[in-house]
């Protein structure tokens, strides 16, 4: 199978206020998949389910062609996990934690671990409880990578880290992927960070997958366009209008559209509209517009 991770019809409910609804995800093998979403959208819940830590109400999860939770120990032997909050024992030293971790993973690469520990400037005798947030973040990545996983599941791994540590962490991940062709599933609400490294993106909002597509398509497909003489209801546009806003009183509007291709300029001639401008949006703007449009009660929203 070509997907490292497959989720179908995943559902989970927490009281009246949160629900994951029929989530369907496909993470291609060898890809770096950015799992985007605002805080509280369900990213961590989804990750905990695919790690077998929580039981979904319904749905099916397959990781590396194995079923969750049936094949959990075999899955976990091939998955490197960095959780949202540090999960290592604070009273251990770096070296002790590494030895403890290594004893569970048959593919642990001690030489690589030592080398990466040196590169990340971690001291083996340092107690974890006395380490800074950045050092702890580096240790978590070191542990996850040294077990030589086929799939890395990173839940906001750089959240709260300074730019230097963030770069160290992401560089370590990219070096590992370059070396092994492993799959990376990385969740974040830091859109710019994912823009640089991901080749696939899935956007989750309020427990619902809003979009899932290759990053290039996501980045290039969301545009801000200026249209003159816009009617109240445009006739069969070949793109999705995420939002519309009056620019001035002369009937000029700014549209945020998704699924844009240059050939679509012809559409405006065909329906007698005047296309004034097409502006690329960066990923963050596109992300914000996408979320805005997908929420009920917003212009263009569902």
């Amino acid at each position: 199978m070509n997907n490292a991770l497959e989720i179908d019809g995943l559902g989970w409910r927490a009281g009246r206020f949160f629900e994951l609804r029929d989530l369907r995800l496909r993470v291609p093998r060898g890809s770096i998949y950015g799992f985007l979403g605002p805080n509280g959208s369900g990213k961590t819940t989804t990750i905990r389910m695919l790690m077998g830590m929580m039981k979904p109400d319904h749905g099916r999860i397959r990781v590396l062609d194995m079923d969750v939770p049936r094949d959990m120990p075999r899955i976990l032997a091939r998955v490197g996990y960095v959780p949202e909050r540090p999960h290592v024992y604070p009273a251990l030293t770096v070296g002790e934690q590494m030895r403890y971790h290594a004893s569970f993973f048959g593919k642990w690469d001690a030489g690589w671990a030592r080398e990466t520990m040196r590169r990340l400037e971690l001291e083996p005798d340092r107690r974890i409880s006395r380490m800074s947030k950045g050092e702890t973040g580096k240790l978590l990545i070191l542990l996850a990578l040294s077990q030589r996983p086929d799939l890395l599941v990173l839940d906001e791994p750089t959240d709260g880290l300074d730019p230097v540590v963030r770069r160290d962490v992401l560089t370590a991940v990219l070096d590992y992927v370059g070396e092994t062709n492993a799959t990376v599933f990385i969740s974040s609400h830091l859109v710019h960070e994912l823009e640089r490294i991901c080749d696939w993106v899935g956007v989750l909002d309020r427990g619902r997958l809003v979009v899932e597509l290759p990053m290039t398509q996501f980045k290039n497909g969301i545009k801000r366009i200026k249209v003159s003489g816009a009617p109240e209801t445009p006739v069969d546009p070949p793109f999705t209008i995420l939002s519309r806003q009056q620019t001035n009183g002369a009937g000029t509007e700014t549209w945020i559209v998704r699924g844009w291709q240059d050939s679509m300029k012809q559409y405006f001639d065909g329906v007698g509209l005047d296309l004034r401008d097409v502006v690329d949006l960066d990923l963050e703007e596109g992300f914000v517009e996408l979320l805005r449009s997908s929420r009920p009660g917003t212009p263009g929203g569902s």
């Binding site: 790690m51 120990p73 075999r74 999960h87 290592v88």
Partner: protein
């Protein structure tokens, strides 16, 4: 893997375990204080010796229970603090992980038990007993070991669950023994039938007479006839 789990448990509990080992070694010695070789100047009366030994009776099971409880709670303490996220991300089944934890604690329990045995042997060798009395260091150590394991296993099982499960189980026990006893007494005022029942008392008698908890209620004498 098991060695690592044992190391983790040791690292966590060593500060508490060392005083427990000292206490386990010292308790049998303390219990025979004043019964050493008196050079024949004073002859101890057997009844007085037994009476003195009985004074320490309650401390043995209390120490055994404390060792078991502390070992069991420490086995899960760090995992509880991390919401079990790390433990659940390790490639072992939950049952195997729990068995590893349990085994680690059981091995560590041998330290205070071993110290107790040595202390009991030294105490036995040091006493000068009147005729008709004997020391039982091996039997007492075996009882100590069983009591440690019973309390360890019980609390380990309780602590292994979620805090919610633990609270439910402890609440049920509390309700049964404390509230149940009070309700039974209260009902006895109005209904003669309840004046002749003693469900809570009978349960305690049952637990003290049958099953693993009897180990706490039996004879804890280092010196006996």
């Amino acid at each position: 893997m098991y060695r690592s789990m044992l190391f983790l448990h040791w690292k966590q509990i060593r500060v508490v375990l060392i005083p427990l080992v000292i206490a386990a070694f010292g308790l049998p010695l303390l219990s025979v204080q004043g019964m050493g070789n008196l050079g024949g100047a004073i002859t101890l009366e057997p009844v007085a010796v037994l009476h003195a030994a009985q004074g320490w009776l309650t401390l043995y099971p209390i120490l055994a229970a404390a060792v078991g409880i502390i070992l069991a709670l420490s086995a899960w303490n760090w995992d509880h603090q991390l919401n079990h996220v790390y433990a659940l991300s390790l490639p072992v089944s939950r049952s195997r992980y729990a068995m590893g934890k349990m085994g680690g604690g059981a091995v560590l329990a041998l330290l205070p038990v071993g110290a107790f045995w040595v202390g009991a042997l030294v105490a036995s060798a040091a006493v000068h007993l009147p005729a008709g009395l004997h020391t039982y260091p091996n039997g007492l150590t075996l009882r100590f070991l069983l009591a440690v394991m019973v309390s360890y296993a019980t609390v380990f099982a309780l602590a292994a669950g979620t805090i919610r499960t633990t609270v439910i189980v402890l609440s049920a026990v509390f309700l049964y023994f404390v509230v149940g006893g009070a309700v039974e007494s209260y009902l006895g005022v109005f209904f003669p039938f309840f004046q002749h029942t003693d469900v809570v008392g009978n349960t305690l008698t049952f637990l003290g007479s049958f099953g693993p908890f009897t180990v706490f209620a039996g004879s804890w004498m280092l010196i006996d006839v």
